[in-house]
């Protein structure tokens, strides 16, 4: 294992343990979609788009009392270090489900009976934490599409690297570190809507990592609000760059 944290406590890209990677958020970037957003989070480059509420196909999936949600997380073949096979992987299928179920609690689906809302997350370039970045962007795309929401969803991982609990793992930390714990939060309601964990932690580390991830979600939430503000109220004040 390479040494991922140096003697000064800094990580391989110079970040402190509780620092997010540089983040860029843009809302409303696609012409055709009903809502869209773009996120860069470290080397992640992800577009999320929303279509709907729209007609349900096939018809037997219609729910008389609410909208159904379709969601796909998909990686471009050129998004990874070695080319990704274009066939859908089991990993993508699982993450699609995880993302959908992290966003559904925030959507007021009862407002759109008998319709479907489609959420597409396209990873153009992937780094560690692409599912979290995808949730963060998709949440903005849903807002951009004007879907009624109880809250925004912000998402971020924490984990354990070289025995230390750190925020927002990049690709090397994810591969060579001990533990990854992606979390998504509805910041105002205070509910966790995504939680996964890979790798060993003690109960104390569990608590520490979970709370660090939550604080990351709170930081992202600020950036999300600002991105929406920039789009809808035209302000041009420079974006806060987390990680600076």
């Amino acid at each position: 294992m390479t040494n991922l944290i140096d003697s000064a406590g800094l990580r391989n890209d110079g970040r402190k343990f509780n620092e997010l990677r540089p983040i860029k958020l843009e809302v409303g970037i696609l012409k055709n979609a009903d809502g869209s957003a773009y996120i860069e989070m470290g080397k992640n480059k992800i577009i999320a788009a929303v279509y709907g509420p729209k007609e349900v196909h096939p018809r037997h999936l219609v729910r008389p009392d609410r909208a159904i949600v379709k969601c796909r997380y998909h990686m471009a073949s050129f998004s990874t270090d070695t080319r990704k096979n274009p066939a859908p992987s089991r990993r993508e299928t699982e993450i699609s489900k995880i993302i959908r179920q992290s966003l559904e609690p925030a959507l007021i689906l009862e407002d759109y009976p008998r319709t479907a809302i489609h959420i597409w997350v396209e990873v153009l370039q992937s780094d560690g934490g692409s599912r979290c970045a995808g949730v963060t962007a998709a949440s903005l795309a849903l807002a951009d599409a004007g879907i009624n929401m109880r809250d925004i969803v912000a998402s971020c991982a924490a984990g354990k690297v070289d025995g230390k609990v750190v925020l927002d793992l990049d690709n090397i930390e994810d591969m060579e570190g001990e533990t990854d714990m992606p979390v998504a939060l509805m910041p105002n309601i205070g509910e966790v809507t995504l939680f996964q964990m890979d790798g060993i932690v003690s109960p104390a580390e569990f608590k520490e990592a979970f709370e660090l991830a939550l604080s990351g979600c709170q930081d992202l939430y600020k950036l999300q609000k600002q991105a929406l503000f920039t789009k809808y109220f035209g302000t041009d004040k420079p974006q806060v760059q987390e990680g600076e």
Partner: protein, 280 residues
């Protein structure tokens, strides 16, 4: 899933279950933190290297482990292959017909896989024969034969027990590096016993080991896998609801407590298997 098409029935059932939960009761009389009866039988498939049949209440699953020779994946030349594949057979419920695995079953396979892999129950670097060329491939196939909720725990328990009791032929490499399988039978080398516990959230209540009825009305579930040292090694939240931050911590305590119980039982069964007894 079926209930989803009948909003009135679903909501009646939900009301009934929540009303009981309000009094700290469950439809089948269990306490909130009480698991259903768990039975584990080993060596049920003689043709497999290891196998186990698990029933958890009326949920029944069979796991067979096959250990074969394979070529390592190019990006992990010094690791054996570990593949987990769960399947809900059509005999298991009126809702499951034959077909490719749906996202539910893919998630199930991947969560069971993660629990085993991340706990380092199997040291995959020990099962390498010639790095980059020949390794053992451990196939863990799980068939669900009757479905009554909490598949993650039942499948994970069957997989871990089948692995812990699996046997394989030993081998030697000749001085010229040639591989030769020997007739000696040795146990598959394993370390810990990871246990995956699922807690369901219905309304304001958290309950361990949900049955199918409870799953059909639950808001969310959280699975945590623990190991023998009382550490966590994997986690997965499912279903379209959320947990408060305190609830996550409460689930983590449930997972440690119930995990310990289940591990005790597994240990007894595994010990028994070594002595030729094949059930608990």
């Amino acid at each position: 899933m079926v209930a989803a098409k009948r909003p009135v029935l679903e909501s009646l059932r939900r009301d009934h279950i929540i009303e009981l939960l309000g009094k700290g009761q469950r439809v089948d009389g269990r306490k909130l933190t009480e698991q259903r009866k768990l039975t584990i039988e080993t060596n049920v498939i003689e043709k497999a290297n290891g196998s186990a049949r698990v029933s958890l209440g009326d949920t029944e699953v069979i796991c067979g482990v096959k250990i074969e020779l394979g070529t390592p994946f190019p990006d992990t030349p010094d690791k054996a292959i570990l593949i987990v594949n769960a399947e809900v057979l059509p005999i298991a419920s009126p809702q499951h017909e034959p077909g490719p695995p749906d996202e539910e079953v893919i998630e199930l396979s991947r969560v069971v896989d993660r629990g085993i892999r991340e706990s380092e129950m199997i040291d995959l670097s020990k099962l390498v024969i010639i790095p980059g060329q020949k390794v053992y491939a451990v196939f863990i196939d799980i068939s669900v034969i009757n479905l009554d909720g909490n598949l993650i725990e039942a499948c994970s328990c069957a997989a871990v027990t089948a692995l812990a009791t699996a046997k394989m032929k030993s081998h030697e490499l000749s001085s010229s590096g040639e591989f030769k399988q020997l007739e000696d039978i040795v146990p598959l080398p394993t370390n810990r016993l990871p246990v995956s516990i699922t807690v369901a959230k219905i309304g304001e209540s958290l309950l361990v080991d949900p049955s199918m009825d409870e799953e059909s009305v639950m808001d969310a579930r959280l699975t945590l896998t623990t190991d023998d040292d009382g550490n966590f090694c994997a986690g997965q939240k499912g279903e379209p609801g959320g947990f408060s931050i305190d609830e996550v911590f409460q689930v983590s305590e449930n997972a440690l407590a119930s995990g310990k119980e289940v591990r005790e039982l597994m240990k007894k069964v595994i010990e028994g298997a070594k002595e030729g007894k094949e059930t608990n």
